[in-house]
């Protein structure tokens, strides 16, 4: 039994490690996998387990590898790895059932940490299998006579427990997040100082939280353009962040900043901070820059909080130098783009008219928004995008637009940051995720910096809320959050399968992963009506109590005694005889009872002898009654009952 549990645990940990393979350093991953395999060997070959000293040395060595290979700033990964390491070592040591039970209980925590990194339907199904295996292992360590019984009991219990747990998930009011704990992932995707979208085939998106914004008075109205960085120089291919840092701002007119919010930044080592429009902060470790952006003075990788005051960008005249700087382009390259810009420019007199032309161009020339653009390599990437592929995400549109504006002499710059944010549960805060990363253009119309975002016409829904909430892009967005079966889409049946799986996964994401406080509130109000929504907790308690009661009732059913045909007939006969007080008062065997009836009630004698013969034949001689004999027995019993009656 304990071998079964130990092997199952080895497989589970191998599975967990595979699910976390992309997060863990390769060396540590392979070492831990080796330990799992070793344990598998120990469990099945019955070899002696390593001594405590050896395990301790191993633990120390692994810890050293851990601290060398894992970035100490990634505190969650560090914690998860240490947990896995400790559990696997404990498993290696565990020889008694009791120790293995402890490892199993620990493993229920380990499998949850997988969900910090992987939440797809497939990973969830896999973790679900682990869950089943763990309960079977628990049962098998608990003195159950057969593994089959352990499996049956586990499946039975889980088949009742899972719906109840789902019910709790839906109806138990959700708790708000505790802000203090660090985020799970280190920045994987997100902002970059260099915007060069053209060679990207598929924009890998991360659902990691970047920051939360808590508004002091009322929630600002969307769209939320969170400015982070300005990309002011085009090098022929990419838009780059200005090499000369912006000046620190002096003389801030604080009362003019009407909006205010608290920004809770997740762990990040980046210097840039986020603001709506023109922003300033009173925090001492924040640098207020002249271009209305904010920077962290000491960008260490820890979570961070700052007060933000913001307002729309004000009119601002450009100096001669600035005008030149913001219209500067390389001499060569992308001739088609330049031509197109010039053609659009001839139709319009001023900057704003040009912008309108440009919007129309994108709108009517068949441009689409996608996270899986056709990769463009070589030179003149903008030309190819404009004239051939015409599919791209924000980076494509921002790059091309800013280039076109500059080529007709409109000062322009690319801004990167985040667009949107999820408003959770009607609260006063927004959550902004890595997949909300966005790039757009700011152009100077002669009076002030204006925003230009081609996404607004190509994918209008993108402006409202978070990317994850835009229905139109949802499927595509999901496909980019994980591997998917896209590579195999050329096979028709596989493609069909992929689409079906994606549909399922879409539903999964929308209804399970995305089930947040707001959705819960709406659902509860829809189901229970707004005045009863607050009693959902009581509903859950009642439902669980009821289910458990039914389980108890069902399990209290007594073992059924299956009477054979002849036994049923006999019991009928004896019941009748007992009613007429003809039955022997002593406890006799059926045959002896028949004898007794035959001797004490002479008119029954012939019947009793025949009944006795048939009963003996079926019960003791293992010869089943024929159809005829069954009929005969029944008739005999009926006749006898008549005589008795």
């Amino acid at each position: 039994m304990s071998n079964f549990a130990s092997s199952a645990l080895s497989f589970i940990y191998i599975g967990i490690l595979m699910l976390l393979a992309t997060e863990l350093p390769t060396m540590l991953l392979s070492l831990l996998l080796l330990l799992c395999l070793w344990n598998l060997l120990l469990a099945n070959k019955g070899l002696t387990r390593p001594a405590l000293l050896a395990t301790n040395i191993l633990a120390a060595a692994l810890l050293a590898v851990l601290f060398i290979t894992v970035d100490l700033k990634q505190s969650v990964l560090l914690f998860v790895t240490m947990l896995l390491q400790a559990s696997i070592l404990k498993l290696l040591q565990a020889s008694s059932a009791k120790q293995q039970q402890t490892v199993i209980v620990l493993t229920f925590f380990s499998i949850s940490t997988v969900f910090l990194y992987q939440q797809s339907l497939y990973s969830t199904l896999l973790v679900g299998l682990f869950f089943i295996a763990l309960t079977i292992a628990l049962a098998s360590l608990n003195g159950l006579p057969t593994t089959r019984l352990a499996i049956r009991k586990s499946i039975y219990s889980l088949s009742i427990a899972v719906p109840l747990a789902a019910l709790m998930l839906v109806f138990v009011p959700k708790m708000p997040a505790f802000w203090q704990l660090p985020g799970a992932n280190s920045a994987k995707t997100g902002l970059n100082e260099r915007i060069d979208p053209f060679d990207i085939a598929s924009l890998a998106k991360s659902d990691e939280l970047v920051f939360r914004a808590e508004f002091n008075d009322t929630l600002a109205s969307p769209p939320y353009y969170w400015r982070a960085m300005l990309h002011t120089e085009f090098d022929g291919r990419a838009w780059i962040k200005a090499k000369i840092p912006a000046q620190a701002r002096t003389n801030i007119d604080w009362p003019a900043y009407s909006g205010s919010a608290q920004i809770y930044l997740e762990k990040s080592a980046n210097p840039w901070l986020y603001t709506l429009g023109d922003g300033v902060s009173r925090a001492s470790d924040v640098r207020n820059l002249s271009d209305g952006l904010l920077q962290r003075k000491d960008p260490s990788a820890s979570s961070f909080k700052y007060p933000l005051s913001y307002r729309p960008q004000l009119p601002e005249a450009l100096s001669r130098y600035e005008y030149q700087y913001y219209t500067q382009l390389p001499q060569q390259g992308n001739p088609l783009t330049r031509n197109l810009a010039r053609r659009l420019g001839t139709k319009s007199n001023d900057a704003n008219a040009f912008i309108a032309e440009l919007y129309d161009y994108y709108r009517y020339q068949g441009f689409t928004y996608t996270l899986t653009p056709t990769p463009i390599t070589g030179s003149d990437t903008l030309d190819i995008f404009l004239t051939q592929t015409q599919r791209g995400f924000c980076g494509h549109y921002a790059s091309v637009s800013a280039f076109m504006m500059r080529s007709v002499g409109i000062p322009a710059r690319v801004v990167s940051g985040y667009l949107g944010g999820e408003n959770v549960g009607g609260s006063d805060y927004l959550s902004v995720y890595q997949y909300d990363a966005h790039a757009w253009v700011e152009y100077h119309d002669g009076v002030r910096w204006q925003r230009f975002d081609a996404t607004a016409v190509v994918a209008p829904g993108r402006l409202n809320g978070s990317l994850s909430q835009v229905e139109q892009l949802r499927q595509e967005f999901r496909a980019n959050l994980e591997l998917g079966l896209l590579q195999l889409s050329s096979f028709k049946s596989l493609n069909w399968l992929r689409i079906q799986l994606e549909k399922i996964d879409y539903t999964w994401t929308k209804w399970v992963l995305g089930f947040d406080q707001q959705k819960q509130n709406n659902l509860l109000k829809g189901l229970l009506g707004s005045q009863f929504a607050q009693y959902s907790m009581a509903l859950v308690v009642i439902a669980i109590a009821l289910t458990l009661f039914i389980v108890l009732m069902l399990s209290s059913r007594q073992r059924k005694v299956q009477l054979t045909f002849s036994a049923k007939q006999l019991s009928r006969l004896f019941d009748a005889a007992e009613a007429s007080a003809l039955l022997s008062p002593e406890q006799l065997t059926p045959v002896a009872q028949l004898d007794y009836l035959a001797t004490h009630t002479p008119q029954l004698k012939a019947h009793m002898e025949r009944i006795s013969r048939l009963y003996v034949q079926t019960t003791y001689e293992q010869q089943p009654l024929t159809k005829k004999q069954r009929l005969e027995l029944k008739k005999l019993v009926n006749k006898s009952i008549k005589i008795i009656g």
Partner: protein, 329 residues
């Protein structure tokens, strides 16, 4: 400090337990049902709940529905375990058989029979005096269960409470009950083999005189051993010494009625426990060979007899002799 706390708490705990249990379990037969079964999460179950709590915190912090689901699932699993472990043990019928008396150098064994006419009970454990026996399956056919207890000093004991428990199916919940049969058992002194002679004495003699040496009482009441059936170990007695004495006289004076082999406390060496062990050995040997013996302890003489009841009574007498806490709880 801890010891002091324990000293205060232990009797309270006992009293509380007695009050809770009342007399429901003071019976030799018991069918487990809702009034006689107690259910709580086991230690492992509490650990499991702790992990469920950690998962809950993790889930709340990362707004992670899947971790939340697993935390709820764990909670429900514990609740299910409570129900199932109770349902499993329900209807279990216990029948106390015996705790056979025996010698102090062996442990006692508790014997009971179990059956469940209503359903199968799995993984039922029986704990008695610190030892546990696991029965994997109890069904409608009655089966005997033996639980070995450790060695105990000689005496008469009331059968200690038997604990019946099960953590079926996952080890997360524990159901338990007790069986307190009203029965006694004896622990006889451990028999210690020896070569000391078993003498024939007049039973009418007062015990004080019998404690003297052989030579002192070597008069007309006394006889050599050679004419009698003797235990094998006592053959090395000094025949010559006895032969020189008035052998025939003895034969004439002693009648079968008032003389017998006496297992005499006073004639054995060592301290009380040692002497009792030597006596226990003699009685054991006598019983094996059906030799009638009398047993003499200071202030107490059992007349010669060779019935099994007599040997039993003799051993019990030894078990209780000068035993301050003769009957232990």
């Amino acid at each position: 400090m801890v010891a002091l706390l324990h000293k205060i708490c232990a009797p309270l705990h006992h009293r509380l337990q007695d009050w809770l249990l009342r007399d429901k379990h003071k019976t030799a037969t018991l069918t487990l049902g809702h009034s006689t079964v107690y259910v709580l999460p086991s230690k492992l179950g509490f650990g499991f709940l702790l992990v469920a709590g950690l998962n809950f915190i993790l889930a709340a912090n990362y707004q992670n529905n899947l971790v939340q689901l697993s935390s709820y699932l764990m909670l429900v699993l514990v609740l299910m375990s409570l129900i199932q472990s109770y349902a499993n043990i329900r209807g279990l019928q216990l029948q106390f058989k015996e705790v056979p008396s025996g010698y102090a150098n062996q442990g006692r064994t508790y014997r009971l029979s179990v059956t469940n006419q209503q359903r199968n009970s799995y993984a039922v454990q029986f704990q008695w005096r610190g030892n546990t026996t696991l029965v994997e399956k109890v069904d409608s056919t009655s089966q005997d269960v033996y639980i070995n207890g450790d060695k105990q000093p000689r005496g008469c004991y009331q059968v200690p409470r038997l604990k019946i428990f099960s953590t079926y199916p996952f080890g997360l919940a524990k159901v338990w009950s007790y069986l307190e049969a009203n029965a006694d058992y004896y622990v006889y002194p451990a028999p210690q083999p020896h070569n000391h002679a078993l003498n024939k004495q007049a039973l009418s003699e007062t015990p004080q005189q019998s404690s003297g040496a052989l030579s002192q009482s070597g008069n007309d009441e006394f006889d050599g051993l050679k004419e009698h059936k003797q235990l094998a170990d006592y053959r090395r007695i000094s025949w010559k010494h006895f032969a020189k004495r008035e052998q025939l006289l003895v034969k004439e004076f002693i009648t079968e009625a008032d003389s017998a082999y006496v297992v005499d406390f006073g004639q054995l060496p060592g301290d009380i426990e040692n002497r009792l062990s030597l006596m226990a050995y003699s009685i054991e040997q006598a019983q094996i060979q059906h030799i009638p013996i009398a047993v003499r302890l200071p202030g107490l003489t059992l007349p010669s007899d060779s019935s099994d009841e007599h040997y039993l009574k003799a051993l019990r007498t030894l078990a209780l002799y000068k035993n301050r806490g003769a009957i232990h709880e």
